[in-house]
Amino acid sequence: MNVRACGAVIALAAVVMTGCGRGKQSQEVATGIVPAGSTETAAPAAVTDYPRPAKPSRQYRIGIAIPHLANPHYVGQAYGYIDEAQQLGAQVTLLEAGGYEHLDKQVSQVEDLIASKVDAIILAAISGPGTVGVVEQAAAAGIPVINVNVMTDSDKVVTRIRSDDDVIGRMQADVMGYQLQNGGNVVMLRGAPGTSWAEIRGNAFRKQLAAKYPNVKILGEQYSQSTPADGLRLMEDFLQTFPQINGVYNGADSTAVGAAQAVKSAGKAGSIVMTATDFQLDTEKFIREGVITASILQQPVTMGRWGVRAAINHLEKKPVPPVMFTGLMTATKENLDRLDLTTLRAPSGWTPPVR
Amino acid sequence: MIDARPFLELRGIVKRFPGVLALNGVSLDVRAGEVHALLGENGAGKSTLIKTIAGVYRPDAGDIRLDGRIASIRNPHDAQALGISTIFQEFTLAPDMTVAENIFLGREPLRVRALSIIDRKQLIRRTRDVLASLDLSIDAEATVRHLGVAQHQMIEIAKALSLDARLIIMDEPTATLTSHEIDRLFESIGRLKARGVAVVYVSHRLDEVKAICDRATILRDGAYVATVPVASTTVDEMIRLMVGRDLKDKFPKTAFDPGEEVLRVERLTRAGVLHGISFSVRRGEIVGIAGLVGSKRTETARAIFGADPIDSGRIFLRGTPVKVRTPADAIANRVALVPEDRKRQGIFAVLSVRENIVLSALRLFSRNGILDLRRETRRAQELVSALRVSTPDVEKRVLDLSGGNQQKVVIAKWLNTDAEVFLFDEPTRGIDVGGKIEVYRLMGDLLARGAAIVMISSELPEILGMSDRILVMRDGRICGEFDRADATEEKILNCALRGVSDPAA
């Protein structure tokens, strides 16, 4: 909490210092989908990035542990790690745990990384509290840990790199509120239980709705693993339970894909507002078809790159900001073809060297 | 109408199993339209012979001819194709399918061959035809499970007929039928005769054989004895042919002065199984229990041992009435049971000789809850040498011992429990002659120490050779009691085979 406050201040400072400028990623948001002036809430997404340092003289060994590689978000992240490491002459070991339910496997993997004496560890934690033990073990062994995307509840982490999940939640609330001007009922598919992103985004969504759009009511929320099958199942159940649903919030896009399928099969495509996070191929398809109204896009490749850069900088004894937010974009039917996806997805045909 | 020419001829059939010569040059001929009985004691070879005809076994020597031509019967399928059908004691109907489905199982009339779609109408029609030809009033679409045992049997016969059987073998067909049902069965057999179908009728019930059979072939100890016309042969003569052997002195028997009564059972009853069993056994004596398969002798022993429940009756041990509800109760009262089927009930095959021997008395070998392996080993070695079990050491798996030695291990286990009453169920089954004598000697040792023995056996020589008194059971009742001096094989068999009581209400 202390760290977060500190980080927020620094991020704000960064924003102020860069003068709310627009980065390479242009923020063209169509009117009619999202409230006008919402570009302001989207501003932190346009922060200039964390530049690549000079290539170090040493070849560092970096161990990376992520929850899974089953969607383009993590594949994009993986590309970021590996390409950046190549540029900086570092050797990378990439481990994935096979899903958010395999906390014990991730813990074992980090232990193995510590045992093989890597120079730094980048961790997308399956569980905030659950990875505290291994992070402290790493710290005790003198190995710096960098959290990317999903955070560990420990202050021994050197730096945290993620999207501003708070903003993601708020942006989805803004879309929802704007679209449902006369009020409405909303359900939430929050995503993987116990992860920092599911918590922060969902809470921000609720808070923003309560503050600015009080006539939009939340009927119910569910957690689940991030898979289309889970999204489909939960959405079908929601449609059965609540006859009048006007909007669906999605913490992650794998569930959104499943939920969109359910909405489409129920013949309600277009009459329910769906918001999502991230941008896999099916998300794109559903936005085109008008089933998903808008998706807030993270930049996983950037996350990956910044993770490696932060590690190298720390190892080269340079100061590293404790919190960094990577940029965000909004994708709607209007701007789909104008989006620059190089920071979102790995180049087509690239496959991660999975272990 | 009986055809004079034989339909089925067996000549010089020999069949060996490991350690046993089951059939030694047996011959048999059966004519079309005849009902031919196959007689013999337990172990005479009847079962092996019919299984050979049915294709379950292949003979080691000898040949089988059908209609004068050599027939090759390599498996039951071949037998069926040649028109031989067998109705075994264990029925082979599918209980949850209908009568029609069962009769034509695997040969259903198809409407569309390629898709295997069954022509139900034809199925029912043909079933009704077959049932009608036997004058049976069974509903073709009834589910088999809902029909009675007698009807199951009829369905089996109908099935055989539908296969155009020319020979039907029936193994103990009346074992589970009431007298009324038996009449109906005989009517069906009469109809089969009229159609020229031959029947081989295997049964212990000589009165029935007299009623329905034309000729009878007798086997003894795997050998062919004679074939006789039933009408002109008395039951006594048949029995004599079944039995006629000399009683050599292969039974080491010392007579002891019987002591006090140790075990007494009064009117043990269990519905449908035991009907008022009462007897007593004294120290130093062997009471043998004879009877045919199905006479419920094993059930009696299990009831006394607490392995099966009883509905009424009392058990007295050393004069005191006791409640024996579980084997543990029996063991606490110093009763031991050496079961009929060693493999399934007696030995722990993968465990060592030592572990088997000490199992029922582990309390003796544990100190503070921990087992004393050295004490176990010592005791096991004592017993192994006392009983002359042939094994290199007590750690060998019981599975690797011979049948006789396995039996001795089982007996040794009970010697640890301080048992006074020993219930032996077929103690020497599957054991060679030498092993048998060892077991008899063991029994003598037990008696010398004051034990009382109840010995169930299907081998009449064994019963006659070892028992002080003999009880004969039939259908869950004791139908005769003999002293050693008075007993003969004929008398026992007579008691076991004949019987005026109505079989199985």
Binding site: D104, A115, G133, V354 | G346, S366
Partner: protein, 298 residues
């Protein structure tokens, strides 16, 4: 079998000398200790002629019960509650198997599903955080050079070995597995001892669950998926027979070591975890096949 283990270790050690490092050994043994405890319980079940399919789900149930109790009442209460949860689940399975005479496969299959459901219900599907830091020591701490979970697992092995080879209970387990009918006819109270078998299995699952919870310092209702199958694999690879009566703690230990060394070794030589699964599957079948072939030749 010990030769195989040594051989594997040498091969992996040659390809990646990191294998022999103290930290790696400590890690491997720590990670193996959960499976080891489950395998001990499974050994009892399989030896007795049964099986316990529920142990994986019990890990989750125990984790949730332990964590929730710990948050409300305290460290010791939490640990006790976790152990109790496993034991009681085992008791229920045992009752169904021994008294209602439902086959062990079915009964523990039911418990597998029910326990997982209970874990998810009690936790609302969410992990339970906020456990006291001291608890982490149980999962991550050391006694001298040895990780605490390893010490606990080793002690459990010794204890279980003594029980199986030197007590009446142990002997009856073998007897029941070898020939249940004969066991009844030998005066053994099979029903009672069967219950005891499953109580034992549940207790060891409880211990494993508590340690696992300590490692991730949170109650997790998703723990343990598929672990029951690995515990069975460990028993069988070591030489235990699935029909019962043959095997023991020693052979199970061999099986655990093979699985642990394989997993860790293949990781160190950078073999994908998907291929690892194929290898393990092949070894399970291979080990049993070799055992049976030796048996038939007798």
């Amino acid at each position: 079998m010990p030769a195989v283990i040594l051989g594997l270790a040498v091969i992996f050690g040659t390809i990646n000398p990191n294998f022999w490092s103290v930290t790696n050994m400590a890690n491997v043994s720590r990670q193996m200790s959960i499976l080891a405890l489950l395998a001990i319980g499974q050994t009892f079940a399989i030896l007795s002629g049964g099986i316990d399919l529920s142990v994986g789900s019990l890990l989750a149930l125990v984790s949730v019960v332990c964590a929730q109790t710990m948050k409300t009442f305290g460290l010791v209460e939490g640990i006790t509650a976790g152990l109790l949860a496993g034991t009681v689940a085992g008791l229920i399975s045992g009752l169904i198997i021994a008294r209602a005479r439902v086959p062990a496969f079915i009964a523990t299959l039911g418990m597998l599903v029910a326990a997982r459901g209970a874990a998810l219900t009690l936790s609302g599907g969410l992990p339970i955080a906020g456990l006291p830091r001291e608890f982490l020591v149980l999962g991550a701490g050391y006694i001298g050079p040895f990780p605490i979970p390893t010490v606990i697992a080793a002690t459990a092995f010794v204890l279980a070995h003594v029980i199986l080879s030197r007590t009446r209970f142990g002997r009856y387990v073998y007897a029941m597995g070898s020939n249940e009918e004969a066991a009844v006819l030998s005066g053994i109270n099979v029903a009672n001892y069967k219950m005891l078998v499953y109580i034992t299995s549940g207790l060891f699952a409880g211990l494993a669950g508590v340690i696992l919870t300590a490692r991730v310092i949170s109650g997790q209702p998703t723990l343990g998926e598929v672990q029951e199958l690995y515990s069975i694999a460990a028993v069988v690879i070591g030489g235990g027979r699935i029909s019962g009566g043959v095997g023991g703690i020693g052979t199970t230990l061999m099986g655990v070591l093979v699985l642990g060394i394989l997993g860790n070794g293949l990781n160190l030589v950078q073999v994908s975890s998907y291929i690892q699964n194929i290898v393990i599957g092949a070894i399970i079948v291979g080990a049993v096949w070799i055992d049976l072939a030796r048996e038939r030749r007798r």
